[in-house]
């Protein structure tokens, strides 16, 4: 949305007032002197505003660009992390290298715009950086989960981003919502490769199932409508997707229990589950 705003419509306006409206960029000193010399009494004030508004737009564009880059890098982090195969274990060397270098680049980007987001401007560009931070939260929560098997906390997340960048609770929690989707994908992959851990849900896939159900319960208990802010609306949208994700894992685990893995490795029919298996094939 923001990106469209930046370039849209400009040429048309310049056609209209070709002589009166200076082109953006370095201002023509001679032209300014001419404007000041005109008997328009308000011109000096507006020329002063022009410089300040230009600075504001420059800051905003830098933040928007960083946000976009951070979103792309976070997605790449997530792709790499999806190739991990175990929860609660260190990442394989190659994955670790990829993930670490991307995270470093994200932090470099964030530190780069920190001067645009401090003092008076601390919250000014919040909307512009929000998208990048949410995607980053998703990546960091996913990484944290794979490494430790636990959910990344708000305070934990704050420690993972550079000083001078404020993380709002909204961006954190919306990132966690999206993390559910990644955990789902991770779980389904594990199930496709290994079955549900061979013991009816006790392995990593089983853990993911339990954790996602618990997450769903917590999300459902959360009241985000207070204050009638944007968060409530965003959460409403993400809630549906989150529930679908949890159900997908539930169905996948069910499928494995009932039918066995799609790619059985030395799979032996379990006599106990045979009636169920037949039932499911009737569908």
């Amino acid at each position: 949305m923001e990106s469209g705003e930046l370039h849209h419509k400009r040429p048309r306006q310049q056609q209209h007032h070709g002589s009166a409206r200076p082109k953006p960029g370095p201002h023509d000193a001679a032209r300014d002197a001419e404007l000041l010399a005109s008997n328009n009494p308000f011109m000096p004030m507006f020329l002063r505003f022009r410089g300040e508004l230009d600075e504001h737009h420059d800051r905003r564009e830098r933040v928007i660009k960083a946000s976009r880059d951070i979103t792309a890098l976070s997605k790449k982090m997530i792709f790499s992390l999806q190739r991990a195969r175990k929860i609660g274990a260190p990442l394989p060397q190659q994955l670790l290298k990829e993930v670490t270098s991307r995270h470093a680049e994200i932090n470099r980007q964030l530190s780069g715009i920190a001067p645009d987001l401090h003092e008076l401007n601390a919250h000014r560009y919040q909307r512009n950086i929000s998208g990048g931070l949410q995607e980053l939260m998703e990546a960091l929560a996913f990484q944290h989960y794979i490494l430790t098997g636990t959910l990344l906390s708000y305070t934990g997340a704050q420690k993972l981003i550079p000083d001078g960048i404020e993380l709002t609770v909204s961006d954190y929690i919306l990132g966690i919502f999206d993390f559910v989707g990644e955990a789902m994908r991770f779980g389904i992959t594990l199930i496709a490769l290994n079955g549900a851990g061979g013991d009816g849900g006790g392995g990593d896939a089983g853990k993911i199932l339990l954790d996602l159900r618990r997450l769903r319960e917590e999300f459902e208990a959360l009241d985000t409508t207070a204050g009638a802010g944007v968060l409530g609306k965003e959460v409403e949208k993400k809630m549906t997707v989150m529930k679908q994700c949890v159900e997908k894992v539930e169905n996948a685990v069910y499928g494995v229990i009932v039918r066995g893995s799609e790619k059985p490795k030395g799979w032996v029919p379990d006599l106990d589950s045979q009636p169920l298996q037949m039932h499911s094939e009737d569908d």
Binding site: E5, L6, H8, K9, R10, Q15, H16, A20, R21, P22, P24, N40, P41, F42, M43, M45, F46, L47, F49, R50, E52, L53, D54, H57, R60, G88, E119, L120, N121, A122, H123, R124, Q126, H144, T148, G149, T150, L151, L152, S153, Y154, T155, G156, V169, Y172, I173, K207, L210, D211, R214, L215, E218, L222, D223, T224, A226, G227, A228, G229, L231
Partner: protein, 263 residues
């Protein structure tokens, strides 16, 4: 993070408790701000309705009208400081969106009031004096303006510029109604004012936001004001001070613009 001292630590409930707490604290602040704004808005509405009478009263009564709004402006100033008290503990831009429109409106009212005061009371009004600067608006309400680094309450350039556009819109309406009152002096002042503001806005590099959209609309106000001015000159209701040629020239430019808009 990964301690296993408690049976189920993977999804720590405290994480969500913290989030919930923050959301509620935030909601509470917003509630307080909205209460402040309700009181401020009440005063603004009063002032707005009083100043609106300028469209229907004879010019001689306008100074009286303006004088009557003074106590309400004083009330508004107090309410504004009530708001500042509520929000001073938080970063300025965190909640700015909640009151920005109300502040624009109040700024517009003080700009209108001053315009009326300065353009109606004296026999020889100074057009250069017609617009309160952003600094003067700040002085009226005892509020800082256009801060660059310090993180505290102030009136921003954008809010001020929105108010200036509202003033132009209001004066365009007054252009018609002044003529109806057989007042031919104000239309000349309005005409000069609206054209000066319009060309001042031309020097700003506005991005495609609400300010940009509204400032694009200024040309229609210029056109309206030009048309009325033209009617008055043609009928010899006012002496044309500026050479007629220049005037016609501007009209042509406007027509070209309108054609381009339709394309």
């Amino acid at each position: 993070m990964a301690d296993s001292t408690t049976p189920y630590t993977a999804i720590d409930h405290d994480i969500f408790a913290t989030v919930q707490e923050q959301i509620e604290r935030d909601a509470q602040v917003k509630e307080e701000i909205r209460d402040n704004l309700k009181s401020l808005d009440k005063q603004s509405k009063q002032i707005n309705s009083m100043l609106s009478r300028v469209h229907s009263v004879p010019p001689s009564e306008v100074p009286h009208l303006v004088a009557k709004t003074k106590p309400y402006f004083e009330n508004a100033r107090k309410e504004l400081h009530g708001l500042i008290e509520t929000v001073k503990a938080y970063p300025y831009y965190k909640y700015n969106g909640l009151w920005s429109r109300d502040l624009q409106n109040l700024t517009f009212l003080v700009l209108l009031e001053t315009w009326l005061e300065r353009m109606y009371t004296t026999d020889t009004p100074q057009p250069g004096n017609a617009l309160l600067t952003i600094e003067e608006v700040g002085e009226r309400f005892e509020v800082p303006v256009n801060l660059q680094t310090e993180d505290k309450f102030h009136i921003t350039i954008e809010e001020y510029l929105h108010a200036v556009i509202s003033l132009v819109e209001e004066l365009s309406r007054l252009m018609t109604n002044a003529v109806t009152q057989r007042d031919f002096k104000r239309p000349q002042l309005i005409s000069t004012f609206v054209k000066d503001i319009h060309s001042s806005f031309q020097v700003l590099n506005l991005k495609n936001d609400s300010l940009r959209r509204r400032s694009d609309g200024l040309k229609y106000n210029v056109k309206k004001v030009e048309d009325i001015y033209y009617d008055l000159v043609v009928r010899n209701l006012i002496a044309s001070e500026a050479p007629t040629e220049e005037h016609v020239g501007i009209k042509k430019e406007e027509d070209v613009e309108n054609k381009m808009d339709k394309d």
